[in-house]
Amino acid sequence: MISEMKKFIISKNELKKILAGIVAENIKLIAPVSRDNAFFLEEVSDAEKIAWDYSNVVKPVKEHIFPMREVLLDFGRGTDPPALDEPEARSSGKEKNPAGNMPPVKEQVIFGLRPCDARSLLVLDKPFLQEKYVDSYYKERREKTTLIAMACLNPEKTCLCSSFENGGPFSSAGSDVLCVQTGQDEFLVEILSEKGEKIFKNPSFAQPSGEVLKKLENLKADSEAKICKALKVPENLRELFEAGTWETESLSCIACGICRYLSATCYCFNITDEFEQRLRYWIPCSFKNYTKMTSGEISREKKSARFKHWYFHKFSYHKDNFGEYLCVGCGRCIKYCPVKIDFTEVLGKIGNSKQEQ
C-alpha cells in the first residue's frame, strides 16, 4: 500500500523541468517522439521534443533493455584500416581492451511508456533472469533503467490488457513511477519504488485533493470501459495441436516478422559474427531459416507450422515453464498485421474446433 505521501500533483512545465534535469545529470532520457505519423521511444536531449498526445508507441519498450542489435563481443584489432601511406600501421595493430569488451551501459530513464509495456518487462525478467542462468547483458541494462509509466486514458480498440491479472490501463505493475494526466495541465504522480524516489526528489509538490482522487477513479473507470477485446485461451490448447483449423487460419498469414518483432514479450534472437564483432539480433520464428540446422534440414517448413508455433509458445509452453502467458495484451500484433489477423479470434476458432485424429 503506497502511503498518501507518495502521491502528488504536478504541472506539465514542472514535469518537463524534472525531465530536463535528468538530461542535465548525464542520464539518458528516452521518451516518445513523433516521426512520420507514428510515435517511437527515442533518446531525447530536449524535453520540448517529447510527444504527449499518443495512444502507444510502435516499438515496444523491450528494445531498450534487450536491444534489436546488441554487440556481445568485440574481437577486432581496434584500428580503422590503415591509410595507404602508412604501411607500418598494418602490423602494429593497437589492441582493444580485451576484457569487458562492451562499452559501459549508461543509466537510463524511460518516460511515457504505457502500463502494458512496463508489465512486459516483468514478464521478460522470468526467462532472462533465472536463478541458474542469468543473462548478464539484460541484467545490466535492467538494473540501470528507471521506468516512468503514463497511464492510458484512451486505449485502442486492439488493446486487451485488462484480461491479465495485474493488467489494465492504470496498472502500476512493473513501473517505478506512474503518471496520470488528470487535467489539461495537471498530472497525478505516484512513486512506486526507490528508483522513482530518486527522480522526484523535491518534497514540496502538492498533495492530491479528494476531488482529484475522485477524478482519478472516474478516468480509470472510463478507460477500462473502452477496452473491448478479451483474451480467452482454450483450456485444452495442447490437445488441439493437430487440429485442421490451424491450416485454414494460417492461409492469409504472409509469414513476415511484424507480430514477433512488435510483440512486447517475444524474445527469440540469433547470434552471428559480423566483421569483427559477435552480436545478437532479434529473429522471428515465422522465418523458415529460424529452424534451419547445419544439415540443411528445416523442422518447421510449412507456414502453418510456423504460424501455430507462436500461439503455442505464448499460451502453452511458456505457461508450463514460467507459470504465465507470454503476453501482456498490448495489441500491437493485431494493429500492425498487414493482413489483419487477430490472435484472439484465432484462439476462439481453435477452441471451437475438434481435435483431429
Partner: protein
C-alpha cells in the same frame, strides 16, 4: 457483388478451380478470403477497402488451380509472373474487377491511395472474366506522375542522404515488405545467405541501407506499383519512393513498364545496342 459471388460459385461447382481467393469482411474490416466450396462464396465482396494484392498468395498455390479476384494494378503482377515462367496460365482463372480507386489505410481522412491518382488500368489488362464497376466512375487525376520524385531529385545529395538515413534508422528488418510483395518470391532470399554474407542481417543503418537498395534493385522492371510494401511497413518508411524512382528510370531510359504484356522480356533482362548506346555518352567513360 452478386456477379462476383455467382462467378465464384460457378467456378467451384464446375470444379474448374480448387479455391477462389478474394476479399471478405470481418469485424468491420476487409481481409483475404479463401473459398473452397460454393456455399461459402456468399462472403465475397469488393469495395474501396480492398487494398490487398491477392496475387501474392500465388506463392503458396503454385501448382494448384485457383481463381483470383484482381484489380488492374494486381493483375499486372500476373503478367510479370508469366514472363518469368513461375506459373502456368491455364492453372489460374483471373476474375478481374473494374476499380476506380481504393482507400489509403494510413491516412486519417480515408482518401484514395497515392497509386490510384495515376491509374491507367481501371480494367485489368489480363483477365478471364470481368466484374463491372458498381457506382460512380471517377477518372484518375491527370498530372505529372513522377512529380514527387523529380522534386526530391532537385535536393542536394547530402540532404537526400540525411532523409534516407533517418528513414533507415527506423527499419526493424521485419521483411514484411518482402513477404507481401508478389514479386519477391525467391525460395531463399539474398539476406538469408550467410556464406558469403552480402547483406547484414542485423538491423543497423548499414544493413538496412543494403537491404532496401538491393530489394529496390531486384524489383527494377518488375515492380507493378501496387503499393503494398509501403502499406505493410509498420514504421512508415516511404518504400514506394525508391520503387517509383526505378519505374521512372525504366520508362525514360528503356521505355518499359512492368506488367503490360505477358510475353515480352523484362527490360533488365534485355538489351537493344542501338538504343542503349546513348547511355554511354552520359554515364560510361
Amino acid at each position: 457483388m452478386k456477379e462476383l459471388i455467382d462467378k465464384a460459385k460457378e467456378l467451384l461447382k464446375e470444379k474448374k478451380v480448387e479455391t477462389v481467393i478474394g476479399y471478405r469482411e470481418i469485424r468491420g474490416c476487409v481481409v483475404p478470403a479463401y473459398v473452397d466450396s460454393p456455399c461459402d462464396a456468399d462472403c465475397l465482396i469488393f469495395d474501396k477497402r480492398c487494398v490487398y494484392n491477392l496475387a501474392n498468395y500465388l506463392k503458396w498455390f503454385k501448382n494448384k488451380n485457383v481463381a483470383l479476384v484482381l484489380k488492374g494494378c494486381d493483375a499486372k503482377s500476373i503478367n510479370v509472373w508469366l514472363q518469368e515462367f513461375q506459373i502456368k496460365r491455364e492453372n489460374i482463372f483471373i476474375i478481374g474487377v473494374e476499380c476506380y480507386g481504393v482507400m489509403n489505410e494510413k491516412s486519417a481522412d480515408a482518401g484514395l491511395s497515392d497509386k490510384c491518382g495515376h491509374c491507367e488500368a481501371h480494367v485489368p489488362n489480363i483477365y478471364d472474366a470481368v466484374i463491372k464497376h458498381q457506382g460512380d466512375k471517377k477518372e484518375s487525376v491527370q498530372g505529372e506522375p513522377f512529380k514527387d520524385i523529380q522534386e526530391f531529385e532537385k535536393l542536394p545529395h547530402d540532404e537526400r542522404w540525411d532523409f534516407w538515413k533517418k528513414q533507415f534508422e527506423k527499419c526493424i528488418k521485419c521483411y514484411a515488405c518482402r513477404e507481401i510483395c508478389p514479386m519477391c518470391y525467391c525460395k531463399e532470399c539474398i539476406v538469408e545467405r550467410n556464406i558469403p554474407q552480402w547483406i547484414m542481417s542485423s538491423p543497423s543503418v548499414k544493413g538496412n541501407f543494403e537491404w532496401n537498395m538491393v530489394r529496390a534493385f531486384h524489383l527494377a522492371g518488375r515492380c507493378v506499383e501496387c503499393g503494398e510494401c509501403e502499406r505493410a511497413c509498420p514504421v512508415n518508411i516511404p518504400l514506394m519512393k525508391l520503387n517509383k524512382k526505378l519505374i521512372k528510370e525504366m520508362k525514360e531510359l528503356f521505355d518499359y513498364s512492368a506488367g503490360q504484356k505477358e510475353d515480352v522480356k523484362s527490360a533488365i533482362d534485355d538489351f537493344y545496342p542501338e538504343k542503349d548506346i546513348k547511355i554511354d555518352d552520359k554515364m560510361i567513360r
